[in-house]
Subunit: 197 residues, 2 copies
C-alpha cells in the first residue's frame, strides 16, 4: 500500500467503499485485473462524499495504474483542478490506494481499530449470506463499521467471496435485464444505505 | 429531430428519461450547451434498460454532437459492438436523439398519444412543485406516463423549469455536500421510482 497521510476529515458514517480492479471477472468469467477508469474515481468519490462515506479505496496491484490514480489525485487535490473545482477536491480527498485485498483489509482495520464487517456486491449474489439493505442501514446508523466491495469488469471474482462476511442484495428493477455500470450500482447502494429519507 | 424508427420493444413502464445538453448551466450559472459524454449514454441506457425505462432521449441542438451519438449507437447496435456485447446493444436501443425541448416534448407526446407529466431533476429544487418519489412511483405503477429531465453540466437552466409540470426532490445524503454526477443521480432516481423492493 502506498504511504498516505491519515484521514483527518470528519465523516458522518463508519463506512468505506472499495473499488476492486483485481481479482475480478472478465466477460468469459475468467479472473483478470481491470484497468482504472478516470470517471469511476470521480463518480464514486462524489457519491461517497455526498452520502458521508469515510474512505474510497482503489484496489489495484499494477504500479502503472496506481500511478495513474495518483496523478489524477495530484491534479485535483494540489494541482490546477484544486483551484478550478474545490468541490471535486473535497470528493477526491476520500481516495486511498491499496495493492490488494489484504492491504485493503489491513487499512480498513487500522482506520477503525478492528476489521469492519465486509460486504460484497454483485448482480447475481443470493443465499443465506445476503443481508437486507434495511438491516445494514440500521447497523450503520447505530455506528457499526462497514466496508463495501464493488467489482469492476464483470464483477468480483469468486475467490473474493471467501474473504467477506456477507453480500448485499443485487440492485435490480422488475425486468430480467440487469447490467448496471459499477458507477450506477455504487450510487444506488450508497443511496439505499445512507440516503436521506 | 432525427428520423428514427418507432420503438417496438415491450417495456415495463411508461417512463422516459431525457439527458439535456442545452439549455444547461455552467459553473458560473450561465446558460450554455454542454458536450455529449460517451459514458453518460452507456450508463443511462444500461440503468434505463435495467429499470424498465421506455426511451432515453439525448437532447442536443449541435449537429456534430448528434453525429457523435449516432456513431456510438451505430457501433453498438449494428457494428462490431453489437456482436461483442449483446447486452449493451439491448441497452443502447433505448436511445433517441432530439434537437431541443420542443422536439423532446413532441416525441414523448407522439409515443404515448399525449404529453406525459414532465418532471425536472436538480440538486437545489424546492417548493410546492416538488413531488415526493413515493407519489410519482405509485402513479407510474398505475400506468401514468412520465418524462424525467436530467441536466448535464451544472444542471438544467432556469428557463427549463417553466416548461415542466413539477420537480423531483434533490437526491442527497445527510451531509451538506451534494455534488453527484448526472450518472449517479439518474441511477438513484430510477432506483427510487422503479427499483424492485
Amino acid at each position: 500500500m502506498i504511504d498516505v497521510p491519515p484521514v483527518n476529515r470528519p465523516s458522518a458514517f463508519k463506512v468505506a467503499v472499495a473499488l476492486v480492479h483485481y481479482p475480478v471477472c472478465n466477460k468469459n468469467r475468467e479472473t483478470i485485473g481491470s484497468a482504472v477508469t478516470n470517471l469511476d474515481l470521480h463518480d464514486l468519490a462524489r457519491a461517497g462524499r455526498t452520502f458521508g462515506v469515510d474512505t474510497l479505496y482503489i484496489v489495484t496491484p499494477y504500479r502503472d495504474q496506481q500511478q495513474l490514480v495518483q496523478e489524477i489525485l495530484d491534479h485535483w487535490l494540489t494541482g490546477h483542478g484544486a483551484e478550478y473545482n474545490v468541490d471535486r477536491k473535497e470528493a477526491l480527498s476520500l481516495v486511498r490506494i491499496c495493492d490488494d485485498l489484504e492491504g485493503l483489509y489491513d487499512a480498513a482495520a487500522a482506520r477503525w481499530g478492528g476489521r469492519p464487517t465486509v460486504l460484497a456486491t454483485g448482480a447475481r449474489l443470493e443465499g443465506e449470506r445476503v443481508r437486507p439493505y434495511e438491516t445494514v442501514r440500521n447497523e450503520i446508523f447505530a455506528g457499526r463499521p462497514y466496508l463495501i466491495l464493488l467489482g469492476t469488469g464483470w464483477g468480483l471474482a469468486p475467490e473474493v467471496m471467501q474473504t467477506v462476511d456477507g453480500f448485499l442484495p443485487p440492485v435490480c428493477g422488475y425486468m430480467e435485464y440487469n447490467h448496471l455500470s459499477v458507477r450506477s450500482a455504487a450510487s444506488i447502494v450508497l443511496d439505499r444505505l445512507l440516503g436521506k429519507r
